[in-house]
Amino acid sequence: MKLGRRDFLKYTIGAGGLALLGKYALFSRNSTSAQASYGVGEEPTRKPPRKEIADGVDTVVDTNNKFAMVIDVGACIGCRMCQWNCKAENNIPDAIYPPWIEVFQMENETDMASHPSTEELKQRTSTSYEKSPLEGKWYLPVQCQHCDNPPCVKVCPVGATYKDKDGLVLMNYDRCIGCRICIVACPYSARRFNWLEPELEDGKANPLVPVRPMSVVEKCTFCVHRTRNGKLPRCVEVCPVGARHFGNIKDTNSEVYKLLKSSRSYHLLEEANTKPSIYYITRGKKWPQS
C-alpha cells in the first residue's frame, strides 16, 4: 500500500482520537466516583473499605465539617506529651525522628516572623531541651498544618497525598512512590520519610492506624481515625494544660470557632500562602512563673 503524507496524517489523527476515547471510556468511571465521595454539600459518604494501606480507610467524610486546631502557645509548657503520645497512637517507628510533632523551645525575643542568623538560631532555639517550662522561654509545637492550599498535594505526581473535603490532608501509602517531592515542597518540614524498614514493638501497633511500609512519606493525619468518629486527636486529648483545641470551624458553637473569634491568632509562615488549618494564639502565660 502506498501511504501518502495526507493518509499518514489522517491515520495518525484517527489513532490519537481513538486513544483519547479509550482513555475516557476507561477512566470516566473512576473520576465520577471520586467526585461523589468528595463533592461539596453532598450527603456524608462512607469511604469504601479498601484493602489499600491508607489514612482514613473506612471512615466517613462529612462535608459539613472543616477541622481546625488552635494551639495556645502561651499555655504550652513544652512537656512534649503530645509528641510521645502521638508517636504511640500513630505507630510511628523509632527510625522516624523527630516524630510527627516537634516542639521548639524559643527565646522570648525570637518570633517566627523574622529568622535570626544560623548561629543565633543554634544557640537560642532548641528541640533537645531537657527541662521545661523555663523562665524566659516559650514553646512552639509544630506538625502538619493541614493547609487549604497545600503545596505537597500540588506537586505529588500520583495523588498519594490529597486534601479531603473536611480539611484533612491525608496519605494513600499504597500510591506513594517515595519521590519525596512533597517533603521538598512543604515549608513546615512536616513530612517524614521511612528511610528504613519501620520497626514497631510487637503487639504495640494501634490496629486503627495503618502500619506504613518502607520508603513512603507520612505525617500528621489529625488522627483521622479518631476525629472522623467524633473523638479528639490524641495530642489534644493528652495535653495536660489544655493548650490544644480542636473542632469544626464551620460550626459557630464550636470551641475553636469561639476561640478564634475572641483572640488574635496567627499562622506559621503566613507568607507561604498555604492557608493552614492550625491557628496559633496566645492568651498570656498560664503556667506559674518563678
Binding site: C156, A160, F193, L269
Partner: protein, 444 residues
C-alpha cells in the same frame, strides 16, 4: 563522482575506514566493555541494598532535617543536561545547513540516547519504591505535578530521538551490511527494514528528518525547562523559588552537553585516527559556541547570586550565607574558579589566539566546565534542603561511598553503552554520494 555503491569495485575506502571500530576491534574492546559492565555492577549492588534495607541504610539523605534529595538528584540533572545536546546539535546542523557538523551529528545523538536512560536509572535509584514508580504514575498520574511533566517530556524526547537516530542511520545500516563479516549480515539487513539506497529515498529521509528536527528542538527546550521547574516552583524552599530556574537549567544543559560532546568528539577523533574525516573546524566552532554559552551561563549565575545576596528574605539569607561564606563555600568558590578557568581557556584558545588553536586546550576547557557544572548542580540541590524555614536544627549531608559508587556505576553504564553502540554501528555518518569528505578539512 565516487559511487560508493559500486559493489563490484569493492567497498569504498572511506567506508571501510569508518567501519573500523566495528570490523577491526580486537580483544581490547571486549575488556573495556567488561570493565564498564563491572562498574555498572556497583549500581546494581547499591540498588539492591537500597531496595532491601531502605535508602537510610545506604545514603546520608534524611528528613525533615537534612537533604531529602542529594547526590542522586544532582546526577539526574547532570545526565539530563548532557542528553540535551545530541539532538540539538544534529537538528541545528540540519536546519541551519551546517554541513561541517554532519560527521559529529551521530556522536551527539548517541549522547542523548545514552544519557536519557542513564538519568532514568538514577531516577529509579532515587525513588523509594521503584516497583510502583511506573505503574502508579501511569495509573494515577496527575498532570499538575512537575514529575509527571518530566516523565512526559523525557519519554517523548527519548522516543523522538530514537526515531530520529534510526531514520538518520538507516542508510548507513544498509551499507554496513556489505562491510561486516558474512555471519553478521543478516542483523544489518534486518535492521535496515528493506531500505533501498536511491536518490529518492535519501531525499524522503532528509525531508522527514528536517521536519522532525523542527519538532525536536522545542521538545528539547521543554525537557530541561521542566527540570528547572521541578526546583523553581517550590515557594517553601529558600533559594529555589525564582523564575530564572527554567532558562538557567536549559542554558546549563546546553553548556554541559556541548562540553561533553567536545570531549567525546576529540577522544573518538584521536583514538581512531580519523583526523581527515572529523574536521578540526567543527570542534573549533563548537568550542567557540561553548565559550560564549559559558559566558552567558556565568552571567545567569551572577545575576542569580546578586539577587541571592543583596536583600534576601530571612530563609534565603541563611542559605546564601551557607553557600558564600559558610559550609558550602569550600565547594562554591572552587566551583566558580573552575568554571571561570574553563571559560578563560576556551576564550583565549578559541578567539584571541585562534590561529594557534590547540585541540587539547579546548578539551581541557570543556573538562573544567563539565566538572564545574556538576558541582553547580550539587550546590543548587543540597544547601536549600539543609536550611528549613522553621527553626529545626541545621541538617547535614555528606554523600556516602555507596552514593558515589552508584553514580560511578551509572557512568559505567553510559560509557559502556556508548562503546557498545560504536562496536556495532558506524559512529560517523557515511558521506552521501557526491559529498566530499575532504582531507583538507583540517584547514579553515
Amino acid at each position: 563522482m565516487a559511487t560508493i555503491l559500486a559493489r563490484h569495485k569493492g567497498p569504498d575506502k572511506t567506508l571501510v575506514d569508518l567501519m573500523r571500530p566495528v570490523t577491526a576491534s580486537g580483544k581490547g574492546s571486549f575488556f573495556f566493555l567488561a570493565a564498564m559492565a563491572a562498574l555498572f555492577g556497583l549500581y546494581i549492588i547499591v540498588f539492591y541494598m537500597q531496595y532491601v534495607y531502605g535508602h537510610g541504610s545506604v545514603t546520608d539523605q534524611a528528613t525533615p532535617v537534612g537533604a531529602a534529595w542529594g547526590l542522586y538528584v544532582t546526577g539526574i540533572v547532570f545526565f539530563i543536561g548532557i542528553s540535551h545536546v545530541g539532538i540539538g546539535v544534529s537538528a541545528a546542523a540540519r536546519l541551519l545547513n551546517l554541513d561541517y557538523l554532519k560527521p559529529y551529528a551521530r556522536m551527539a545523538e548517541m549522547l542523548t540516547l545514552v544519557c536519557l536512560p542513564a538519568a532514568v536509572l538514577i531516577i529509579t535509584l532515587d525513588i523509594g519504591r521503584p516497583e510502583k514508580f511506573l505503574i502508579n504514575v501511569m495509573t494515577y498520574g496527575r498532570i499538575q505535578a512537575p514529575f509527571v511533566w518530566s516523565g512526559t517530556v523525557i519519554s517523548v524526547y527519548l522516543a523522538a530521538s530514537l526515531i530520529y537516530l534510526y531514520l538518520s542511520m538507516r542508510r548507513d545500516i544498509t551499507l554496513s551490511a556489505d562491510l561486516v563479516p558474512e555471519k553478521w549480515r543478516w542483523f544489518y539487513r534486518l535492521l535496515s527494514l528493506g531500505y533501498k539506497d536511491t536518490e529518492d529515498t535519501r531525499h524522503t529521509h532528509e525531508r522527514t528528518l528536517w521536519w522532525m528536527a523542527i519538532v525536536l528542538i522545542p521538545i528539547m527546550v521543554s525537557v530541561h525547562s521542566v527540570y528547572g521547574l521541578v526546583f523553581g516552583l517550590h515557594s517553601g524552599r529558600p533559594g529555589w523559588f525564582n523564575p530564572l530556574m527554567a532558562p538557567y537549567f536549559v542554558l546549563g544543559a546546553l553548556v554541559n552537553g556541548f562540553a561533553t560532546l567536545v570531549i567525546v568528539a576529540a577522544l573518538i577523533r584521536r583514538v581512531f585516527r580519523w583526523e581527515q574525516y572529523l574536521s578540526l573546524k567543527a570542534i573549533r566552532n563548537m568550542g567557540r559556541f561553548l565559550c560564549w554559552m559559558t559566558l552567558l551561563y556565568i552571567y545567569f549565575s551572577v545575576s542569580e547570586y546578586i539577587t541571592f545576596i543583596y536583600s534576601p528574605p530571612a530563609g534565603e539569607a541563611r542559605v546564601a550565607h551557607a553557600i558564600f561564606l559558610g559550609e558550602f563555600s569550600k565547594i562554591f568558590w572552587p566551583t566558580l574558579a573552575i568554571l571561570i578557568t574553563g571559560f578563560l581557556v576556551l576564550f583565549f584558545n578559541q578567539t584571541i589566539f585562534n590561529k594557534q588553536f590547540a585541540l587539547w586546550a579546548t578539551v581541557l576547557g570543556a573538562v573544567f566546565i563539565d566538572i564545574a557544572l556538576f558541582l553547580t548542580r550539587y550546590l543548587i540541590v543540597v544547601p536549600s534542603l539543609l536550611y528549613p524555614l522553621l527553626p529545626f536544627p541545621k541538617g547535614s549531608y555528606v554523600p556516602t561511598v555507596y552514593e558515589f559508587a552508584a553514580l560511578i556505576g551509572v557512568f559505567g553504564f553510559a560509557i559502556g553503552v556508548y562503546a557498545l553502540f560504536m562496536r556495532v554501528f558506524p559512529i560517523v555518518e557515511f558521506p552521501h554520494p557526491g559529498e566530499q569528505i575532504s582531507t583538507e578539512a583540517n584547514k579553515w
